[in-house]
Symmetry: C2
Subunit: 113 residues, 2 copies
């Protein structure tokens, strides 16, 4: 049994590679094959395209209410904030993330609600 009181104790880190815009990450827990982080995206910020060999669960904790998202193993995807709002989510990532390229402005704009 592994218990984390919200964070692992490792310092929060600002992420730059494989992210667009301002993104901060708080490590919560690592267990074999599973990495759990709290991630904060400022408006306009997002990940690059990527895949998780074992899939990924996102639990939105701020920005929109209570959404839970499952990305299938190997499914190429990205996530991030809207242009005018923050996003915080818990990310539960199964397997080593395989990163692709940046999400272009047109793809990002097309995804706005």
């Amino acid at each position: 049994m592994h218990i984390s009181h919200g964070r692992s104790g490792q310092p929060s880190e600002q992420r730059t590679a494989t992210f667009t815009g301002t993104v901060h990450l708080d490590p919560v827990m690592m267990v074999p094959g599973v990495m759990i982080n709290t991630v904060i995206f400022t408006p306009g910020a997002r990940t690059y395209w990527h895949r998780h060999p074992g899939g990924q669960l996102l639990v939105v904790t701020a920005g929109t209410g209570g959404d839970v998202v499952w990305a299938e193993p190997g499914e190429e995807h990205w996530h991030g904030a809207c242009g005018d709002s923050l996003l915080t989510h818990l990310a539960v990532s199964h397997g080593t993330t395989e990163w692709g390229g940046e999400v272009g402005e047109s793809d990002y704009t097309a995804a706005q609600p």
Copy 2:
């Protein structure tokens, strides 16, 4: 990609078998091999002993602040509220739950903080 806006649309259900006390469950999402539920425990309520073949992630959303718990694949465990407080958590269960017996009062009392 599967997206749930907090719940799957199935009705909330009160759970009796394999639970002690008053426990309500809201299905959030089911994907192959993974079952995600929001579970509310009233004071004193708890699960029976059980194991998850692929492990289980709990994300506490009310009752204590922000705790994240990982139960190893096959690890026998239980979870529930304290005697004097509510508990709400998101439960991400990998594989079909294998249920054991009820958690006795002495075990429950010994686990109080």
